[in-house]
Protein backbone atom coordinates (compact mmCIF):
# COMPACT_ATOMS: atom_id res chain seq x y z
CA UNK A 1 0.00 0.00 0.00
CA UNK A 2 1.45 3.38 -0.99
CA UNK A 3 2.07 6.15 1.53
CA UNK A 4 -0.66 8.75 1.16
CA UNK A 5 0.14 12.46 1.10
CA UNK A 6 2.86 12.51 -1.53
CA UNK A 7 2.95 14.53 -4.74
CA UNK A 8 0.99 11.81 -6.53
CA UNK A 9 -0.70 8.81 -4.95
CA UNK A 10 -2.36 6.08 -6.99
CA UNK A 11 -4.37 4.01 -4.51
CA UNK A 12 -5.87 0.62 -5.37
CA UNK A 13 -6.88 1.73 -8.85
CA UNK A 14 -8.80 -0.79 -10.89
CA UNK A 15 -10.52 -0.31 -14.23
CA UNK A 16 -12.95 -2.55 -15.98
CA UNK A 17 -15.31 -2.25 -18.92
CA UNK A 18 -18.44 -3.98 -20.03
CA UNK A 19 -18.31 -4.81 -23.74
CA UNK A 20 -20.59 -7.09 -25.80
CA UNK A 21 -22.04 -8.58 -22.65
CA UNK A 22 -18.57 -9.37 -21.27
CA UNK A 23 -16.80 -7.88 -18.30
CA UNK A 24 -13.21 -6.92 -19.07
CA UNK A 25 -10.74 -6.13 -16.29
CA UNK A 26 -8.04 -3.86 -17.66
CA UNK A 27 -6.26 -2.81 -14.45
CA UNK A 28 -6.33 -4.34 -10.99
CA UNK A 29 -5.30 -2.82 -7.66
CA UNK A 30 -2.61 -0.48 -8.94
CA UNK A 31 -0.89 1.39 -6.14
CA UNK A 32 2.22 3.56 -6.16
CA UNK A 33 3.34 6.99 -4.94
CA UNK A 34 5.62 9.68 -6.25
CA UNK A 35 6.82 12.17 -3.67
CA UNK A 36 9.86 13.84 -5.22
CA UNK A 37 11.03 15.12 -8.61
CA UNK A 38 11.71 12.07 -10.74
CA UNK A 39 11.07 10.38 -14.05
CA UNK A 40 8.92 7.27 -13.78
CA UNK A 41 8.34 4.91 -16.68
CA UNK A 42 5.50 2.43 -16.92
CA UNK A 43 6.26 -0.66 -18.98
CA UNK A 44 4.40 -3.88 -19.64
CA UNK A 45 3.06 -6.19 -22.36
CA UNK A 46 0.78 -4.76 -25.03
CA UNK A 47 -2.77 -4.45 -23.82
CA UNK A 48 -1.89 -4.48 -20.12
CA UNK A 49 -3.56 -1.12 -19.51
CA UNK A 50 -0.58 1.24 -19.42
CA UNK A 51 -2.25 3.97 -21.46
CA UNK A 52 -5.51 3.49 -19.54
CA UNK A 53 -3.60 4.03 -16.29
CA UNK A 54 -2.11 7.24 -17.63
CA UNK A 55 -5.54 8.56 -18.58
CA UNK A 56 -6.91 7.73 -15.14
CA UNK A 57 -4.02 9.57 -13.49
CA UNK A 58 -4.52 12.73 -15.55
CA UNK A 59 -8.28 12.64 -14.97
CA UNK A 60 -9.51 11.78 -18.47
CA UNK A 61 -11.03 8.50 -17.25
CA UNK A 62 -12.49 7.63 -13.84
CA UNK A 63 -11.24 4.47 -12.15
CA UNK A 64 -13.80 1.73 -11.51
CA UNK A 65 -12.32 1.37 -8.04
CA UNK A 66 -9.68 3.24 -6.07
CA UNK A 67 -8.49 6.81 -6.49
CA UNK A 68 -5.73 9.11 -7.57
CA UNK A 69 -4.58 11.90 -5.25
CA UNK A 70 -2.57 14.94 -6.34
CA UNK A 71 -1.14 16.58 -3.22
CA UNK A 72 -3.79 14.81 -1.21
CA UNK A 73 -6.71 16.04 -3.35
CA UNK A 74 -8.63 13.42 -5.27
CA UNK A 75 -8.37 13.78 -9.06
CA UNK A 76 -11.90 14.08 -10.45
CA UNK A 77 -11.87 15.24 -14.02
CA UNK A 78 -9.02 17.07 -15.71
CA UNK A 79 -6.38 18.26 -13.25
CA UNK A 80 -4.71 21.49 -14.35
CA UNK A 81 -1.52 20.53 -12.53
CA UNK A 82 -0.96 17.68 -14.97
CA UNK A 83 -0.57 17.54 -18.75
CA UNK A 84 -0.50 14.70 -21.23
CA UNK A 85 1.58 14.24 -24.38
CA UNK A 86 0.01 11.84 -26.85
CA UNK A 87 1.67 9.19 -28.98
CA UNK A 88 0.18 10.47 -32.23
CA UNK A 89 0.62 14.19 -31.50
CA UNK A 90 -3.14 15.03 -31.52
CA UNK A 91 -2.64 18.44 -33.12
CA UNK A 92 -5.40 20.44 -34.77
CA UNK A 93 -4.40 20.48 -38.45
CA UNK A 94 -6.03 23.84 -39.21
CA UNK A 95 -4.24 25.67 -36.38
CA UNK A 96 -0.73 27.09 -36.45
CA UNK A 97 1.96 25.92 -34.04
CA UNK A 98 1.27 28.89 -31.79
CA UNK A 99 -2.47 28.34 -31.80
CA UNK A 100 -2.07 24.63 -31.09
CA UNK A 101 0.08 25.52 -28.09
CA UNK A 102 -2.43 28.15 -26.92
CA UNK A 103 -5.07 25.40 -26.72
CA UNK A 104 -3.17 24.26 -23.63
CA UNK A 105 -4.18 27.49 -21.91
CA UNK A 106 -7.83 27.43 -22.93
CA UNK A 107 -9.08 26.89 -19.39
CA UNK A 108 -6.55 29.18 -17.74
CA UNK A 109 -7.93 32.56 -16.69
CA UNK A 110 -5.19 35.01 -17.66
CA UNK A 111 -5.15 37.83 -20.24
CA UNK A 112 -4.59 36.79 -23.85
CA UNK A 113 -1.31 38.73 -24.07
CA UNK A 114 0.10 36.69 -21.20
CA UNK A 115 -1.02 33.48 -22.89
CA UNK A 116 0.80 34.48 -26.09
CA UNK A 117 3.93 35.30 -24.08
CA UNK A 118 3.84 31.94 -22.31
CA UNK A 119 3.28 30.18 -25.64
CA UNK A 120 6.30 31.95 -27.16
CA UNK A 121 8.43 30.96 -24.22
CA UNK A 122 7.67 27.23 -24.41
CA UNK A 123 7.90 27.28 -28.22
CA UNK A 124 11.44 28.62 -27.76
CA UNK A 125 12.25 26.04 -25.09
CA UNK A 126 11.27 23.12 -27.32
CA UNK A 127 13.31 24.54 -30.23
CA UNK A 128 10.44 25.57 -32.48
CA UNK A 129 11.09 29.31 -32.52
CA UNK A 130 10.67 30.43 -36.13
CA UNK A 131 7.82 27.99 -36.80
CA UNK A 132 5.08 29.75 -34.83
CA UNK A 133 3.02 30.36 -37.96
CA UNK A 134 3.57 26.91 -39.48
CA UNK A 135 0.70 24.44 -39.66
CA UNK A 136 1.11 20.75 -38.82
CA UNK A 137 1.34 19.70 -42.46
CA UNK A 138 4.56 21.69 -42.76
CA UNK A 139 6.14 19.91 -39.81
CA UNK A 140 8.09 16.67 -39.47
CA UNK A 141 6.97 14.05 -36.95
CA UNK A 142 9.56 15.25 -34.46
CA UNK A 143 8.41 18.84 -34.80
CA UNK A 144 4.78 17.82 -34.32
CA UNK A 145 5.71 16.06 -31.11
CA UNK A 146 7.56 19.18 -29.96
CA UNK A 147 4.31 21.09 -30.48
CA UNK A 148 2.56 18.45 -28.38
CA UNK A 149 5.22 18.86 -25.72
CA UNK A 150 4.96 22.66 -25.82
CA UNK A 151 1.18 22.47 -25.51
CA UNK A 152 1.58 20.24 -22.46
CA UNK A 153 4.22 22.49 -20.87
CA UNK A 154 2.56 25.84 -21.51
CA UNK A 155 0.44 25.75 -18.38
CA UNK A 156 3.38 24.84 -16.15
CA UNK A 157 2.18 21.39 -15.10
CA UNK A 158 3.80 19.88 -12.04
CA UNK A 159 3.38 16.42 -13.55
CA UNK A 160 3.99 15.69 -17.23
CA UNK A 161 2.52 12.44 -18.49
CA UNK A 162 3.64 11.00 -21.81
CA UNK A 163 2.02 8.13 -23.67
CA UNK A 164 4.66 6.41 -25.82
CA UNK A 165 5.81 9.85 -26.96
CA UNK A 166 8.64 8.67 -29.19
CA UNK A 167 7.12 5.56 -30.77
CA UNK A 168 5.80 7.38 -33.86
CA UNK A 169 9.20 8.90 -34.57
CA UNK A 170 12.19 7.60 -36.50
CA UNK A 171 15.11 6.37 -34.40
CA UNK A 172 17.31 9.45 -34.86
CA UNK A 173 14.55 11.96 -34.10
CA UNK A 174 13.48 9.93 -31.06
CA UNK A 175 17.06 10.08 -29.79
CA UNK A 176 17.00 13.90 -29.95
CA UNK A 177 13.62 14.24 -28.31
CA UNK A 178 14.46 11.93 -25.40
CA UNK A 179 17.37 14.16 -24.48
CA UNK A 180 15.24 17.26 -24.92
CA UNK A 181 12.62 15.90 -22.51
CA UNK A 182 15.34 15.13 -19.95
CA UNK A 183 16.73 18.64 -20.40
CA UNK A 184 13.30 20.20 -19.82
CA UNK A 185 12.73 18.04 -16.74
CA UNK A 186 16.16 18.87 -15.29
CA UNK A 187 15.75 22.62 -15.88
CA UNK A 188 14.58 24.01 -12.54
CA UNK A 189 13.27 27.17 -14.20
CA UNK A 190 10.75 25.07 -16.08
CA UNK A 191 7.94 22.89 -14.87
CA UNK A 192 7.49 19.91 -14.53
CA UNK A 193 8.94 18.22 -11.47
CA UNK A 194 7.70 14.79 -12.38
CA UNK A 195 7.50 12.93 -15.67
CA UNK A 196 5.42 9.75 -15.93
CA UNK A 197 5.98 8.00 -19.23
CA UNK A 198 4.45 4.91 -20.79
CA UNK A 199 6.83 3.09 -23.07
CA UNK A 200 7.27 -0.35 -24.58
CA UNK A 201 11.02 0.28 -24.98
CA UNK A 202 12.89 -1.05 -21.95
CA UNK A 203 16.17 0.59 -22.95
CA UNK A 204 14.38 3.91 -23.25
CA UNK A 205 12.86 3.39 -19.81
CA UNK A 206 16.26 2.69 -18.25
CA UNK A 207 17.91 5.57 -20.11
CA UNK A 208 15.39 8.13 -18.97
CA UNK A 209 13.93 6.99 -15.66
CA UNK A 210 14.60 6.94 -11.95
CA UNK A 211 11.97 4.23 -11.51
CA UNK A 212 10.34 1.73 -13.82
CA UNK A 213 6.93 0.37 -12.87
CA UNK A 214 6.51 -3.02 -14.47
CA UNK A 215 2.92 -4.09 -15.13
CA UNK A 216 1.76 -7.65 -15.69
CA UNK A 217 -0.33 -8.66 -18.67
CA UNK A 218 -4.04 -7.85 -18.46
CA UNK A 219 -5.47 -7.15 -15.99
CA UNK A 220 -2.39 -5.00 -15.36
CA UNK A 221 -0.98 -5.13 -11.84
CA UNK A 222 2.29 -3.66 -10.60
CA UNK A 223 4.68 -6.60 -10.36
CA UNK A 224 7.78 -4.51 -9.66
CA UNK A 225 8.72 -0.93 -8.79
CA UNK A 226 12.26 -1.05 -10.15
CA UNK A 227 14.74 1.60 -9.00
CA UNK A 228 17.26 2.65 -11.64
CA UNK A 229 20.32 3.58 -9.60
CA UNK A 230 22.48 4.88 -12.43
CA UNK A 231 23.85 8.41 -12.48
CA UNK A 232 23.02 10.70 -15.36
CA UNK A 233 24.06 11.07 -18.12
CA UNK A 234 23.61 7.34 -18.60
CA UNK A 235 26.00 5.28 -20.69
CA UNK A 236 23.99 2.83 -22.77
CA UNK A 237 27.11 0.80 -23.41
CA UNK A 238 27.94 0.21 -19.75
CA UNK A 239 27.51 -3.24 -18.14
CA UNK A 240 25.41 -1.62 -15.41
CA UNK A 241 22.98 -0.28 -18.01
CA UNK A 242 22.64 -3.67 -19.69
CA UNK A 243 22.12 -5.26 -16.27
CA UNK A 244 19.17 -2.98 -15.56
CA UNK A 245 17.65 -3.71 -18.98
CA UNK A 246 18.11 -7.46 -18.47
CA UNK A 247 16.62 -7.40 -14.98
CA UNK A 248 13.53 -5.55 -16.12
CA UNK A 249 13.13 -7.71 -19.22
CA UNK A 250 13.33 -10.87 -17.10
CA UNK A 251 10.31 -9.66 -15.13
CA UNK A 252 8.19 -10.13 -18.24
CA UNK A 253 8.96 -13.84 -18.48
Amino acid sequence: MSRVGGLLDVIDVSKSYAASGKHIDVLRDISFSIDKPEVVSIVGPSGCGKSTLLRIIVGFLPPTKGKVLHHGEEVKGVDLGMSLVFQNFALFPWLSVQDNVLIGLEHVQIPHEQKVEKAHHVIQEVGLEGFEEATPKELSGGMKQRVGLARALVRDPEILLMDEPFSSLDALTAETLRNDVLRVWADKSLAPNVVVMVTHNIEEAVYMSDRVLVLSSRPGRVIEDYQVRLTRPRDRRSPEFYKCVDEITSLFT
Binding site: Q124, E125, V126, G127, E129, G130, F131, E133, A134, T135, E138, S140, G142, M143, D170, A171, L172, T173, A174, E175, T176, L177, N179, R183, D235, R236, R237
Partner: protein, 162 residues
Protein backbone atom coordinates in the same frame (compact mmCIF):
# COMPACT_ATOMS: atom_id res chain seq x y z
CA UNK B 1 31.21 12.71 -49.66
CA UNK B 2 27.97 12.53 -51.60
CA UNK B 3 26.42 15.90 -52.38
CA UNK B 4 22.72 16.05 -51.56
CA UNK B 5 19.96 17.73 -53.56
CA UNK B 6 21.10 16.40 -56.94
CA UNK B 7 24.38 18.24 -56.83
CA UNK B 8 23.38 21.33 -54.89
CA UNK B 9 25.14 21.54 -51.55
CA UNK B 10 22.34 22.03 -49.03
CA UNK B 11 21.14 19.94 -46.07
CA UNK B 12 18.00 17.97 -46.94
CA UNK B 13 16.95 16.29 -43.69
CA UNK B 14 15.31 17.68 -40.56
CA UNK B 15 17.70 18.98 -37.94
CA UNK B 16 16.43 16.60 -35.27
CA UNK B 17 17.79 13.68 -37.31
CA UNK B 18 21.18 15.37 -37.63
CA UNK B 19 21.22 16.01 -33.88
CA UNK B 20 20.09 12.44 -33.22
CA UNK B 21 23.05 11.14 -35.20
CA UNK B 22 25.39 13.48 -33.34
CA UNK B 23 24.06 12.28 -30.00
CA UNK B 24 24.64 8.68 -31.00
CA UNK B 25 28.22 9.61 -31.89
CA UNK B 26 28.61 11.43 -28.59
CA UNK B 27 27.39 8.35 -26.71
CA UNK B 28 30.03 6.34 -28.55
CA UNK B 29 32.94 8.55 -27.59
CA UNK B 30 32.71 10.56 -30.80
CA UNK B 31 33.23 7.81 -33.34
CA UNK B 32 31.20 4.91 -34.76
CA UNK B 33 31.01 2.78 -37.86
CA UNK B 34 28.24 3.78 -40.24
CA UNK B 35 27.26 0.12 -40.54
CA UNK B 36 26.82 -0.11 -36.76
CA UNK B 37 24.45 2.87 -36.72
CA UNK B 38 22.52 1.28 -39.58
CA UNK B 39 22.31 -2.06 -37.75
CA UNK B 40 21.67 -0.85 -34.18
CA UNK B 41 19.03 1.69 -35.17
CA UNK B 42 17.48 -0.34 -38.02
CA UNK B 43 18.13 2.39 -40.57
CA UNK B 44 18.74 1.65 -44.24
CA UNK B 45 21.72 3.38 -45.77
CA UNK B 46 19.30 5.17 -48.11
CA UNK B 47 17.82 6.76 -45.03
CA UNK B 48 21.05 7.32 -43.16
CA UNK B 49 23.33 8.72 -45.85
CA UNK B 50 21.37 11.98 -46.37
CA UNK B 51 21.63 12.57 -42.61
CA UNK B 52 25.38 12.01 -42.75
CA UNK B 53 25.69 14.28 -45.80
CA UNK B 54 23.73 17.07 -44.12
CA UNK B 55 25.72 16.75 -40.91
CA UNK B 56 28.96 16.95 -42.89
CA UNK B 57 27.79 19.99 -44.82
CA UNK B 58 27.12 21.74 -41.54
CA UNK B 59 30.56 20.78 -40.26
CA UNK B 60 29.26 18.67 -37.39
CA UNK B 61 30.36 15.23 -38.55
CA UNK B 62 33.17 13.82 -40.68
CA UNK B 63 32.76 10.59 -42.63
CA UNK B 64 35.82 8.69 -43.75
CA UNK B 65 35.83 5.16 -45.13
CA UNK B 66 32.71 4.13 -43.31
CA UNK B 67 33.66 5.67 -39.96
CA UNK B 68 31.68 8.63 -38.64
CA UNK B 69 33.37 11.11 -36.32
CA UNK B 70 31.83 13.93 -34.35
CA UNK B 71 33.74 17.16 -34.93
CA UNK B 72 34.54 19.57 -32.10
CA UNK B 73 31.92 21.92 -33.55
CA UNK B 74 29.39 19.11 -33.48
CA UNK B 75 30.20 18.30 -29.86
CA UNK B 76 29.83 21.97 -28.98
CA UNK B 77 26.54 22.30 -30.85
CA UNK B 78 24.79 19.42 -29.10
CA UNK B 79 25.78 20.77 -25.70
CA UNK B 80 24.00 24.10 -26.37
CA UNK B 81 20.54 25.11 -25.23
CA UNK B 82 17.91 25.78 -27.95
CA UNK B 83 18.55 29.51 -28.04
CA UNK B 84 22.29 29.18 -28.52
CA UNK B 85 21.76 26.45 -31.10
CA UNK B 86 19.72 28.91 -33.17
CA UNK B 87 22.44 31.56 -33.00
CA UNK B 88 25.10 29.03 -33.98
CA UNK B 89 22.98 27.72 -36.82
CA UNK B 90 22.61 31.25 -38.18
CA UNK B 91 26.36 31.43 -38.66
CA UNK B 92 26.42 27.99 -40.22
CA UNK B 93 23.65 28.77 -42.70
CA UNK B 94 25.21 32.06 -43.79
CA UNK B 95 28.45 30.16 -44.40
CA UNK B 96 26.63 28.06 -47.04
CA UNK B 97 26.88 29.76 -50.41
CA UNK B 98 23.49 28.58 -51.63
CA UNK B 99 21.75 29.90 -48.52
CA UNK B 100 23.56 33.26 -48.75
CA UNK B 101 22.37 33.55 -52.37
CA UNK B 102 18.86 32.66 -51.28
CA UNK B 103 18.85 35.45 -48.70
CA UNK B 104 20.26 37.88 -51.31
CA UNK B 105 17.35 36.99 -53.61
CA UNK B 106 14.81 37.84 -50.91
CA UNK B 107 16.66 41.03 -49.94
CA UNK B 108 16.84 42.10 -53.60
CA UNK B 109 13.04 41.79 -53.79
CA UNK B 110 12.73 44.26 -50.92
CA UNK B 111 12.88 41.71 -48.12
CA UNK B 112 9.79 39.80 -49.18
CA UNK B 113 9.08 37.57 -52.20
CA UNK B 114 6.42 35.09 -53.32
CA UNK B 115 7.62 31.50 -53.25
CA UNK B 116 7.14 30.99 -56.99
CA UNK B 117 9.18 34.08 -57.85
CA UNK B 118 11.85 32.95 -55.41
CA UNK B 119 12.16 29.59 -57.20
CA UNK B 120 12.42 31.34 -60.57
CA UNK B 121 15.24 33.58 -59.32
CA UNK B 122 16.98 30.68 -57.60
CA UNK B 123 16.83 28.59 -60.77
CA UNK B 124 18.56 31.39 -62.70
CA UNK B 125 21.56 30.88 -60.46
CA UNK B 126 21.12 27.16 -59.85
CA UNK B 127 19.41 25.43 -62.80
CA UNK B 128 18.92 22.25 -60.74
CA UNK B 129 16.88 24.15 -58.12
CA UNK B 130 13.55 22.50 -57.35
CA UNK B 131 10.49 23.09 -55.22
CA UNK B 132 11.89 20.55 -52.76
CA UNK B 133 15.08 22.60 -52.42
CA UNK B 134 12.94 25.66 -51.71
CA UNK B 135 11.21 23.68 -48.94
CA UNK B 136 14.58 22.95 -47.34
CA UNK B 137 15.77 26.53 -47.70
CA UNK B 138 12.57 27.70 -46.00
CA UNK B 139 12.92 25.05 -43.29
CA UNK B 140 16.51 25.92 -42.44
CA UNK B 141 15.76 29.61 -42.81
CA UNK B 142 12.98 29.35 -40.23
CA UNK B 143 15.05 27.12 -37.98
CA UNK B 144 17.90 29.63 -37.92
CA UNK B 145 15.47 32.58 -37.57
CA UNK B 146 16.78 34.10 -40.80
CA UNK B 147 13.66 33.61 -42.89
CA UNK B 148 9.96 33.75 -42.24
CA UNK B 149 7.35 31.93 -44.34
CA UNK B 150 3.59 32.15 -44.59
CA UNK B 151 2.29 28.96 -46.17
CA UNK B 152 -1.15 30.41 -46.85
CA UNK B 153 0.19 33.47 -48.67
CA UNK B 154 3.20 31.50 -49.96
CA UNK B 155 5.48 34.41 -49.15
CA UNK B 156 9.05 34.42 -47.88
CA UNK B 157 10.50 37.21 -45.75
CA UNK B 158 13.97 37.95 -44.48
CA UNK B 159 13.82 38.17 -40.70
CA UNK B 160 16.88 40.32 -40.10
CA UNK B 161 19.37 42.21 -42.25
CA UNK B 162 22.22 39.93 -43.32
Amino acid sequence: MAVPNGGLAFPNVHMSRVIGLMEILNDNLGSIELSKVSKDYLLDLDELLPVVDSAELLGFVKADQGILKLTSEGALFISMNPRNKKAYLQKKMMALELFRKAVEIVNSAGGCIPRRAFLVELAKRYPLASSELVDWIIYYGRLSLLLRYDSQLEMIWVMSKQ
